[in-house]
């Protein structure tokens, strides 16, 4: 399986994107809400029936072995832009359920195990940050994160924080 590095952001970032890194600004894409039709599992397996920009993004998520997700936080979870995309990424899983870490989870299709960094901004307090960390811990089981870290920053520090993470990929 070919692997790659992916930056998935819910807002435009001024970045010099190094070779070998794919940068996707979700805010510039047309991505509708998942409608829960299960078509990607039971009608056209591996393909979402809604043919908008999401169908270009979830294959990138699947292929990437290193990901940096940049998202505003709302109610202790991803805000709507990132959450809309992650909900639309279920074609990369199968309907079938397996035991994983002692719990039931969906079987993955060709999804590379990931080293994930989640860069979150807009949290209001430590309680919200703790809840977001719990969410990412659950994501790790369902999104094939082999390892992950969660970083919090404010909007002003966001681009520097992204640059710092990307530099680590190059070293």
């Amino acid at each position: 399986m070919n692997t790659m590095k992916l930056i998935l952001s819910d807002r435009p970032l001024r970045l010099s994107v190094p070779e070998g890194v794919t940068y996707v600004d979700l805010s510039g894409l047309n991505i509708a809400n998942c409608i829960g039709c299960f078509g990607c599992w039971t009608k056209t397996p591996g393909c979402c029936v809604i043919r908008d920009d999401a169908v270009k993004v979830y294959p990138l998520i699947a292929k990437s072995d290193t990901v940096l997700y940049v998202s505003r936080v709302f109610c202790g979870g991803y805000d709507t832009v990132m959450k809309t995309m992650l909900e639309r990424a279920i074609p990369i899983q199968k309907a079938f359920i397996r035991l994983h870490c002692g719990e039931t989870h969906h079987v993955q299709r060709a999804v590379a195990p990931k080293k994930a960094v989640i860069l979150a901004y807009g949290t209001q307090d430590s309680q919200e940050q703790a809840l977001f960390r719990r969410l990412i811990d659950r994501n790790a089981r369902n999104m094939n994160f082999a390892e992950y870290s969660v970083l919090f920053t404010d909007e002003n520090g966001l681009e520097n924080a992204v640059e710092n993470e990307v530099k680590k990929w190059q070293s």
């Binding site: 397996p45 979830y58 709302f74 979870g77 039931t104 719990r134 659950r138």
Partner: protein, 201 residues
């Protein structure tokens, strides 16, 4: 005073959440009023909310958290808060066996309620929620729903959970059969459903 039921499932008109809302109504000792979220009715529901002292939000777990339809509604609610804030109870289901996989989503709503001054009420977390209603085990679900409904009407902050009373190994086989039958209705074979390809690659 009636209990407001808001169905926040992305497929509200034909969702399991709708069925769970209907069972809740059967067991609720007070009148219930049902609103499925649509793209255009969020502000209307916020306006209506003033007439209710209790609200039940019914929805499925989506990608480990609240479905984005519900997030959009909560954002509208932030901007259009009712003058009288109802007690908010949560009726959540997930397709996984373990009801605890719903915990994060419940905590998210609890955080919203804490921040915006809504009293937090009762919780019913349903595991194996995709299929339990169509099995003999719906009896267990209904028993918990009755307790949940009593807690909602009395305004108590109690948490309940339910799943199929079977071994996980049996659940895995049953869920595989469920999905194979689902695919068969669409003319899709188990082998096709089992593909590793994404967008055909």
């Amino acid at each position: 005073m009636a209990v407001l039921i808001v169905n926040a499932s992305p497929r509200a008109p034909r969702s399991n959440s709708k069925r769970y809302g209907e069972i809740f109504s059967e067991y609720c000792q007070e009148e219930t009023v049902y609103f499925p979220l649509s793209k255009t009715n969020h502000e209307k529901i916020c306006e209506q909310m003033e007439q209710f002292s209790k609200m039940v939000i019914v929805f499925p777990l989506y990608a480990d958290g609240l479905p984005v339809t519900l997030l959009h509604f909560l954002k509208t609610l932030e901007q259009n808060p009712p003058s009288q804030k109802p007690v908010v109870s949560v009726l959540i289901n997930c397709g996984f066996f373990e009801p605890r996989q719903n915990d994060i989503a419940v905590s998210m709503l609890e955080l919203f309620c804490k921040r915006h001054g809504y009293p937090f009420g009762a919780v019913l977390k349903i595991g194996s929620g995709e299929a339990i209603l169509d099995t003999p085990f719906q009896f267990f679900l209904k028993r918990k729903m009755k307790k949940f409904a009593a807690a909602v009407t009395s305004g108590k902050n109690r948490t309940f959970s339910v799943t199929m009373p079977i071994f996980k190994s049996v659940f895995l086989k049953a869920s595989t059969n469920y999905w194979i039958a689902y695919g068969k209705k669409n003319g899709v074979t188990p082998e096709q459903m089992d593909t590793m390809l994404i967008e055909g690659k």
